[in-house]
């Protein structure tokens, strides 16, 4: 096991714990926005796609990479916009602004 792989394993395990702990108590109301947001975040594969598309390694790599960049960008852009829109809709009434949030 080389050192880099080892450190990667730590990073992976720890990030997994963080994901688990953060999500553990989310209320059902937020399940859908959360799904939508994590979906948009999973567009982070864009980062890998950019390298494939721009490193000029081979035609195959450039073509696949460009398609991948396109697909991932759609995911990221659309995903964040719609999540924002959805959450923007959760607003409170103007009449009782001092109330604690309901639902």
């Amino acid at each position: 096991m080389n050192l880099t792989t080892l450190m990667q394993a730590y990073v992976f395990v720890l990030a997994g714990f963080v994901g688990f702990l953060v999500i553990a108590r989310v209320p059902p109301l937020l399940h859908t926005p959360l799904m939508s947001a994590t979906n948009a975040i999973s567009g982070i594969s864009l980062v890998g796609s950019l390298v494939a598309a721009g490193a000029g390694r081979s035609v195959v790599s450039t073509v696949l990479g460009t398609v991948a960049v396109t697909a991932a960008t759609i995911n990221v852009v659309g995903g964040f916009i719609i999540t924002r829109r959805m959450l923007g809709m959760f607003k409170r009434s103007d009449r009782r602004p001092s109330d604690p949030p309901k639902v």
Partner: protein, 459 residues
């Protein structure tokens, strides 16, 4: 120096993603969570573009441009009611990016990849390809392009397990460096087929759970990419997505009173087909005219609206708001009782009512309002069925027995808006409709609401 900046940007992006998820798990900070994620994504992209390995920006610009042009309408135009299929489609895009990157990586570096990297790339394309196909099928089912009922045949589970076994063997071969590109493409293709074959037998209504799970796979595919190309931000956000998606799908099935394995392998949702309908066949539900219902609502001082899947189907949320405003203008109080699994995805009703500009402090969780329903003059049930079925409390033989429900049967009077006497998702009859205090206003929910509004205005 440049490399240090790249790495610092990745660390910052990772932290922002974590903070984003943390904010997203609370209602009052959720919107800020999206901003944090956007910031993280932007920083990660800029960081990547600064990398020395990137020498040609033309194709990148093309991809980013096309993606943005396509992505914006997908974000702004899609109606809220189409959220589940929208998420499934987006997942297809995200996972195909991961898969394509994996293929490119293997194509270019096949000869030089270390064992660990082969493991990573193999997992990447397997999970990615499975997710692409699976989420595409899920989207089709949710949009009802594909039949949303479970497509089953005898021996299905055996076939699926066989398929998975073959995939694992091929995965082993790829990891061992055997078979070259053909073997690798075989892995991609079979994983694709498995994605289709695993999702087809699952009913449309269970798709949200499946989508969350596929999201988790897609996260793991990203994490595998991170291992393969030693990229930490991929590793961190992939792991975050992987665990949070998995946990979310478990939380969802729990909210639906179902076990997780039952969702995935239970010939699942097929109970919709089999459960008997005619339990109350000798009972008669009492209809009511829109005119009478309007009078009852107009003079009620305490109205509780119970929305369900039918309201989503009829797209009636705006008419609901209009009606509520009329009642309020006449001095009545209108509250909304939200069951956690009303509709077909978690938070479905919240999103729809929010879209119609109904303030969310009028929305009450099941637990908050259940004790109070007996004080309601009228409970107005709009296209809800299972979530108000008293059998969950009273009938141990019912498939929904034990699921917590809204105790609408305790209200002083009940008006139910639905098209006929059809069953809901669980496929069972509902004694609430035959109760002496219940009146049925038959018809499409939107049409009925329009009539009610007109009648009340005319009073």
């Amino acid at each position: 120096m440049r490399e240090a900046l790249v790495q610092a940007s990745y660390l910052l992006a990772s932290v922002l993603f974590i903070l984003s998820l943390k904010s997203l798990s609370r209602a009052d900070t959720a919107a800020r969570g999206v901003d944090l994620a956007v910031a993280g994504m932007a920083i990660a992209i800029v960081g990547t573009l600064m990398q020395q390995t990137i020498i040609d920006y033309r194709w990148i610009a093309l991809g980013l441009g096309v993606g943005t042009v396509v992505g914006i309408p997908l974000g702004t135009r899609v109606p809220m009611t189409a959220m589940p299929q929208r998420i499934a489609i987006a997942l297809t895009f995200g996972a195909s990016a991961a898969t394509l990157v994996g293929i490119a990586e293997y194509h270019d570096h096949r000869e030089t990849l270390a064992l660990g990297q082969r493991v990573a790339v193999a997992f990447e394309v397997m999970l990615g390809s499975l997710t692409v196909a699976g989420s595409f099928v899920a989207a089709g089912k949710l949009q009802e392009v594909l039949p949303s009922r479970p497509l089953t045949y005898r021996g299905q589970n055996a076939v699926n397990f066989g398929l998975l076994a073959v995939i694992l063997v091929i995965l082993g071969a790829v990891v061992a460096g055997k078979g070259g590109m053909p073997m690798f493409y075989g892995l991609v293709a079979l994983a694709f087929i498995a994605g289709i074959s695993l999702v087809l037998p699952i009913g449309g209504a269970d798709m949200p759970v499946v989508v969350a799970l596929l999201n988790s796979y897609s996260g793991l595919a990203s994490a595998a990419t991170g291992f393969a190309i030693s990229n930490n931000v991929l590793l961190v956000s992939g792991a975050l997505d992987g665990t949070s998606g998995f946990l979310l799908s478990m939380l969802m099935s729990k909210a639906m009173n179902r076990s997780f394995t039952n969702v995935l392998f239970g010939a699942f949702g097929s109970q919709t087909q089999t459960a008997a309908v005619g339990a109350g066949s000798d009972l008669v539900a009492t209809p009511i005219s829109a005119e009478d219902a309007a009078v009852q609502l107009a003079y009620a001082s305490n109205v509780v609206v119970v929305p369900g899947y039918g309201m989503a189907v009829a797209q009636a949320q705006h008419q609901v708001r209009e009606l509520a405003e009329l009642i309020e203008k006449r001095g009545g109080e209108v509250r909304y009782a939200i069951h956690p699994v009303a509709g077909r995805m978690p938070g479905h009703m919240n999103v729809l009512l929010a879209e119609a500009n109904i303030p969310y402090d009028k929305l009450y969780d099941m637990d908050e309002i259940n004790g109070d329903l007996s004080r309601a003059d009228v409970a107005l049930v709009i296209g809800a069925n299972d979530v108000v079925n008293p059998a969950a409390r009273t009938d141990p033989t019912s498939p929904i027995y034990g699921m917590p429900i809204l105790n609408v049967d305790e209200a002083k009077s009940v008006i139910v808006l639905k098209r006929g006497m059809s069953v809901g998702f669980a496929g069972i009859d509902n004694m609430l409709f035959y109760q002496p205090r219940t009146r049925m206003l038959f018809g499409d929910a939107k049409a009925s609401l329009v009539k009610l509004v007109t009648e009340i205005k005319a009073l």
